[in-house]
Subunit: 167 residues, 2 copies
DNA sequence: ATAAAAAACTTTATGTTTAAAATAAAATCG
DNA sequence: CGATTTTATTTTAAACATAAAGTTTTTTAT
């Protein structure tokens, strides 16, 4: 169970890598949670904000022309109902604004306000330093290799799910 | 204060790997969310359950002697209050049992019931197949490399956070 | 022995998240 | 044109999640 036998009894026809993929997935997950929790704690301590709020501001900063609610939810890979609540709270705090599109009155465009941009910039710089610190003992070669391999994983996952990509 | 090496060339001149580490982190994150969402959707469709519930059952299956609430929350890397609610719901549904320790009456041991074990086994097999499918086009070499590199990342993150490891 | 501190867990308040249902506007079609 | 369908978003209800404060029990230091 924990140790692989010397003679690896894989079937010829394409048996998977035993539990190797599962272990890899669990390591990816714990690694991600570890980093996420670190960022979450520091955002709370130093900026009194939360990771989802930071993620919304970050997404909007990368799209200066604004995003619709649906685009935002797909970009962040969360449900659309989730985005509604987050944006409402951020709007109440003056960090973002919603505006209806003149053409299609169903769509709402969300944009950063000046206050939101300022707040994000202050956080982004520090946030990037946290990431740099956390990855400090990873060499550039390792980082490039990880980038490539993770891209392969993304492609593999998408390829394995032909019909619907999860929201 | 930190355990950074004495010669830390990036500290002086400027940006370390530029925004390379940030990009890597964002790719790790999107990759993880992609897989998580896939699993979440399939657990809902095929077993009418949720990922957090599956995670609890999975953790308990790996610890047949049971876990305390605190051990469980640390193992899953979630808050202790979160575990209380999850376990309460799972207990109400008959998948787990809580029992007080005779020695230390503060601690509650959580264990799988037979029903919980049966339910988990049914899900675990299918779950492993999902993972295998998602990683189908990743070679064994890539998987091993990713395992190693992600271990490096874990170590790097832990090393960068000397005082408190995030819960 | 007794008070203070620590540990294990729960509770509370707030916020996040999802799936599903509801609403509303636009596009399609007969 | 009017009916249907599709699209964009919001609302709802339940579950999930966190931090902080509270409860009970054990340990430690007087």
């Amino acid at each position: 169970m924990t140790h692989l036998p010397k003679t690896f009894p894989e079937k010829l026809g394409g048996a998977p890598h035993s539990k190797q993929s599962l272990r890899l997935w669990l390591r990816m997950l714990s690694c991600t949670i570890l980093i996420e929790n670190t960022i979450r704690n520091r955002l709370a301590e130093q900026f009194s904000t939360t990771l989802p709020r930071f993620d919304v501001l970050s997404a909007l900063e990368r799209h200066p022309d604004g995003l619709t609610m649906g685009e935002l939810s797909r970009f962040l890979m969360v449900s659309n109902g989730n985005v509604t609540g987050l944006v409402s709270r951020l709007e109440a705090d003056g960090f973002v604004v919603r505006s209806r599109a003149p053409k299609d009155r169903r769509t709402h465009y969300v944009k950063l306000t000046d206050k939101g941009m300022e707040q994000f910039k202050a956080m982004a710089h520090v946030h990037e330093n946290w990431i740099d610190e956390m990855f400090a003992s990873i060499s550039v070669e390792e980082e490039n290799r990880l980038m490539d391999d993770l891209r392969q994983v993304q492609n593999s996952v998408i390829r394995s799910n032909p019909e619907k990509n999860p929201s």
